[in-house]
Symmetry: C2
Subunit: 237 residues, 2 copies
Amino acid sequence: MKAADKAKHRTDMISSALRSAILERVLMPGMKLPEDSLGERFGVSRTLIRQSLERLAAEGLVELRRNKGAMVAKPSLEEARDLFELRTQIEDLVISRVIKNMSPELLAELEAHLAKEVEAENASEPISIRLATEFHILLAKLAGSPVLLRYVEEIGYRCGLTLSLYARPHSTDCGIQEHRQIIEALSKGDEDAARKLMRHHLTAVADRALFTTEEGGPLLYLDALEPYAKKVRDGGA
Amino acid sequence: MKAADKAKHRTDMISSALRSAILERVLMPGMKLPEDSLGERFGVSRTLIRQSLERLAAEGLVELRRNKGAMVAKPSLEEARDLFELRTQIEDLVISRVIKNMSPELLAELEAHLAKEVEAENASEPISIRLATEFHILLAKLAGSPVLLRYVEEIGYRCGLTLSLYARPHSTDCGIQEHRQIIEALSKGDEDAARKLMRHHLTAVADRALFTTEEGGPLLYLDALEPYAKKVRDGGA
DNA sequence: GTATAAAGGATTGCATGCAATTTCACCAGA
DNA sequence: TCTGGTGAAATTGCATGCAATCCTTTATAC
């Protein structure tokens, strides 16, 4: 058997592409996601699209209503609050585990990511939202618990989606600075400080997001998906 | 539109049936789960079976290896430890939320469940494992956070599966007594006590499960599934 | 002009078919 | 007997087709 059994497959690629598109606000909350059109764009049949949608639905990024098809999830403010509260508590667990595992290699990984964030600081806003989310996910990876990682991923993605609904622009600007401080506390092994910083960081993000920018109805601009779909069709990641 | 839009559908029923079968040790870890045979038994096509298996795989109860089909998951001891550790921490969150929401109605629900556990005390062991798991899930329901509920469900199920692999018989006997104490502490609003009891309860369960009863190879006794499949075919829950 | 009804189109739910991959059994050769 | 390889059977991966459901538009009645 070939060494690379970890070959990601089409369903994974499609899920990832859709997830990125959602988190980068290319697909806005409420947008319909018809199986046919998506399949056509990605160059696969409805079967695979359906699988991907189901996966995203399990993550809470997509809502799946029986006989009515899928749409990008539109979390209510209440759900959003619940999510952010849970997030602070879950990430507490991450912090204490990362501190236990701390090592120079881990530190290097964290700083490398921070560098990416800095680099993209002036890129488009959606991309920096995604990178900010991925900082938290990287942290969770370093915690060494696969299940915990999954939960942080899910919550992080959903919070990202929520931000795209309720947050005003520039909500992530100071995020980078806060990330830097967290890394510093971690490197010193100061669990309390890291925890406090993380709490502060998350509540800050949440609080910045408390305006209801009521949006338009469910639209269907799948055209914006094209670059994401192309990558998949060409076999990219 | 009919009032009951909550009509559970076949995929849900099949997933539930398989989940119960796994938790009740009817399907043992390592057993193969071929789509065809399952479809035949449940009276549906591979499509729905596949969906169900994928769902269970997302929950960690089933392992899905590419081109090689599904089998009941066989968590390693290491994963098991991780799971139990996470569980205590997650259930801490549940406790503090339940305390906030405490009310006579909630208390009644908890005691009703406890009564069921007592009643089934002398029933078959797998069923009491399932009931014990469901106690924790009920608690999580009362915590009022859908996401937290999902996590407790998943972790609970997976721990149940783990117990079926590593635990020796009678590992749940004193569980009921401990559940009773937890309810008591909750009713008094004593968060610390409840938390300690829960911790103690969970670590006790985990510690009882530290023997490696190495198992046989992957077998295929799908016949034992028959009663579960029949329920689904007849439209039961 | 509003409201209700019916028809047509669009979209999902599920089963089935075919190609690709894996598994197993069997057999040759050392 | 053990190793290695070859072919057939079993099983999954994916696409497609048909029926059922839902949505929209048009037509009809009041």
